[in-house]
Symmetry: C2
DNA sequence: GATGATATATAGCCAGTGCTATGAAATCGC
DNA sequence: GCGATTTCATAGCACTGGCTATATATCATC
């Protein structure tokens, strides 16, 4: 039991009062979900950006998407192909990319969430610059329940004086 | 070639009243930072978990880390090698892994941040389960400034009656 | 309608992060 | 001490998401 070595570290294999933390399964489950979110967040940023560009510029071109994301054009090209395969967008070469109804829906949901998260941070006193940056990453890990809590807070703020 | 265009969509190149949004550079910068965060978040989870296991169980073994993270053991093995190379941990085969001072520092910072984020969500009315999960992903994208805002909110709550 | 600029496609490299299968080493129980 | 169990290491595969370099296609302009 407790002499795997007899160096420093006096084998703290005390009876192990079980979990002052969580059990391994719940712990793992949380990480699993986070890993899933990591897999989808890039798609979310893409469709949201595409919707934004279409709304503002009338079109979403590969080169502009690349510029906005700060990545190289081939990176975008490959990703767009995947998004098209997955049914989020439709590509019309030299005409830009367009959102399918599914893509639209995802973009709308992401945009709403993004707005709430960023607005929430600002309402909390975070500077615009930092709120924008933090929201960009946080948004993808904010569940609907948390989003509701953010929205509630925003509503409260609004009532009690905006600033 | 089959006329890939002159279909619907009448070239919407209206004068483009510039940016009702942000300029491309700032936009890209935000995404860049988020990508950086994505690169480090896994390390953060590892060192935090290792510190937690050492504190609670007295040791942090590969198999236990794998169980906690919900990944396979070789996945952990490779990551630990990287963490050792990067100076965060020290491996003693069949004795567990230990944190270097640098690793300790990172773990402490991550743990503090994690606690604040999760506590903040709960204070906001999010359920324990969801707070735990959302915090696991959000934490890595919360800047110090935002963390301060969270902490301020928590302090305020504490004064005005905890529940 | 030729041409130069721009936009897109494609190939191939690299690193990261997951996996399974399997072999080697250490520890534990006896 | 020895066999069984546990722990770790390693090889190899798949997929993602960066990159550069380069070829091709379209557009714009004259
Ligand atoms: Mn967004
Ligand atoms: Mn984002
Ligand atoms: Mn954490
Ligand atoms: Mn985490």
């Amino acid at each position: 039991m407790d002499r795997p070595h007899d160096m420093t570290q006096p084998a703290p294999t005390s009876p192990k009062r079980d979990t002052p933390g969580i059990d391994a399964e719940s712990h793992a489950e949380g990480f699993q979900k986070t890993r899933n979110a990591r897999r989808t967040e890039l798609c979310e940023d893409y469709v949201e950006l595409i919707a934004e560009l279409i709304g503002r510029e009338g079109e979403a071109r590969q080169v502009e998407i690349a510029r906005r994301l700060g990545v190289a054009q081939p990176t975008v090209a490959r990703m767009l192909k995947r998004l098209a395969e997955d049914g989020y967008i439709q590509q019309r070469p030299y005409r830009g990319v367009f959102l399918t109804p599914i893509g639209e829906a995802l973009a709308a949901a992401c945009h709403r969430r993004h707005e709430i998260v960023e607005g929430f941070l600002r309402a909390l006193g975070v500077s615009d610059e930092v709120a924008r940056h933090d929201a960009e990453g946080m948004e993808h890990h904010v569940s609907e329940e948390t989003l509701q809590a953010f929205a509630r807070f925003l509503d409260g703020q609004q009532d009690t004086g905006t600033r």
